[in-house]
Symmetry: C2
Subunit: 319 residues, 2 copies
């Protein structure tokens, strides 16, 4: 989409040329469109519809908000934008299929590097980028929308399905991303592994699919901090929770594990954690970690018996 | 998606509260989710897959680039963002189905007004918003991704299908949006109608579907200016074009009609314009306007016999 609103009517060739270069890089990462499909380059993309339900999610990544470009690369921001969106698809137990990407960028932005990160994530998560939009802005913003589907007859695993007595588990230790950011800012121990957590977070897609098959009652990805996201799950399910412990990534603090966000581990409610653990083992996934239980009293939200505030990141938006 | 990158870890409640208010406004405009579907409020939305192919498009609208908020309302920006995206869906002959919306906004932005425009457009185009993301940014950006589908066996109508001899038609007069912006900036005749063109552009969805049924060989929406977009269609189809005339919106200039953009009329290549006109008449659509023909010599790109430059809007992006 263009527009005369900026008063800029001219014959610049940059937008079309950039789109061609980006399309080539994306095709190199994910391969060409299958016969009969239309990917990047037309007004819209055309792909096969999934046999099962259609799952949709979108997420935006803003320079200076979600990524400090003095500390991480443009490619890391691109990776994170796509990964955060496919993580949302996976967090209902779905498998991602395709993505479209909107880039708003200041003139001079190294879009090749940005899109190299997007392309790497697209290849890693099997989610080709089939369309997009490039536009001018003062601040770099990358918005990704992704499709996915649910295989088999089970419903999606929502935030709202937990009941009293369900066990709460997470798919891995938390706080690595926040600790990686701290190390990038101020140095410290555990550098490379923590920094990698922050620069290139992973979406727990296989875990989400297996958890759905194994009877998870509620699920979400930990994008804004376990404490805040658990409050959200509890509110949606009208339950409380008692946390006994939280697995902390090596080198991270418990505060970072509770409030840091962007780890993209899944938090899962399940009536039988042994069945879940067996399913994870059968799929050669890391063992899920039990962190607590759901209670019938929605006012109970505790860690080791003490009230747990909804620490975490909320954007100061709106009015 | 949140994130600690801005160093802001707290217990603000604004993001969740804003999302609840937005969800209520969107439901009022488009109605509730049908049984079995999941719309706003979870990690991802779940809707029925279309029987036909899945069509995907995305478009972003940036304050100060696509909308001058000193001249138009936040609701107009919201309207335009959703309309531009469904227009892309319609420009391949598809019918839009659902949308997801990413909003990056400075704190204090009147998101209710912004989303009122999005909701009005969603209702107007029968494209409910089923999911989204709200995040902080210094500059307002709204990115919309939409799904759609193609009914019947015909393939999508791409930019690349025109052949020598095809007639070129447009679905209506052009330049209204650019003229409306001019009137907003400097006053002048034809005010209200032109301003409405600029504030609330229309997507030609019915025209796109009928054109596909009537055998259109190539099609695109005029988002960046007829001249530039015709060059794009000609390049994709490896044809040239000879324009005989351009329908100019009342009160607009021919330069605005050629280079203004954001009219969202469709430009269509078709071997038999009478068949297209009959199909439009049967569907009670405005008569399509023949503007020229495609030529076998791709170097020929003329208006009334003189070379036509690719005037129009391209974003100065990349490096």
């Amino acid at each position: 989409m263009g527009g005369p609103s900026a008063g800029q009517i001219g014959a610049a060739a940059s937008e079309d040329a950039v789109v061609r270069r980006i399309a080539a890089a994306l095709e190199e990462a994910s391969g060409p469109a299958p016969p009969g499909e239309v990917w990047i380059g037309d007004d819209a993309a055309v792909v096969r519809s999934p046999a099962g339900p259609l799952v949709l999610a979108t997420d935006a990544c803003v320079a200076g908000v979600h990524a400090d470009l003095a500390l991480v690369g443009l490619d890391d921001l691109g990776w994170k934008a796509l990964t955060a969106t496919v993580s949302d698809i996976g967090a209902v137990g779905a498998r991602p299929l395709h993505a479209v990407v909107s880039v708003c960028a200041p003139p001079g932005t190294d879009l090749d590097r940005l899109m190299a990160g997007v392309a790497a994530a697209a290849a890693r998560w099997g989610t080709p980028v089939v369309g997009g939009d490039v536009t001018t802005a003062d601040q770099l913003m990358v918005s990704v929308a992704a499709t996915g589907t649910l295989e088999g007859p089970r419903p999606p695993v929502l935030r709202s399905g937990a009941t009293a007595g369900d066990h709460l588990v997470v798919t891995g230790p938390l706080g690595g991303s926040a600790a990686g950011l701290r190390v990038l800012r101020r140095g410290g121990a555990g550098g490379p592994a923590l920094i990698e957590h922050h620069r290139r977070p992973l979406a727990r897609l296989a875990e989400g699919v297996v958890a759905r098959d194994a009877g998870a009652t509620a699920m979400m990805d930990v994008s804004d901090g376990l404490a805040l996201d658990l409050h959200r799950l509890a509110a949606a399910s009208a339950v409380g929770f008692t946390l006994s412990s939280v697995p902390v990534a090596t080198g991270a603090t418990e505060e970072e594990a509770l409030g840091g966000g962007e780890d993209y581990e899944l938090v899962i409610a399940v009536d039988d954690p042994d069945r879940l653990a067996a399913a994870f083992a059968a799929a050669r996934l890391r063992p899920p970690v039990v962190v607590g239980r759901c209670t019938g009293d929605a006012a109970v939200r505790t860690l080791r018996g003490r009230p747990l505030a909804p620490l975490g990141y909320q954007h100061p938006v709106g009015s």
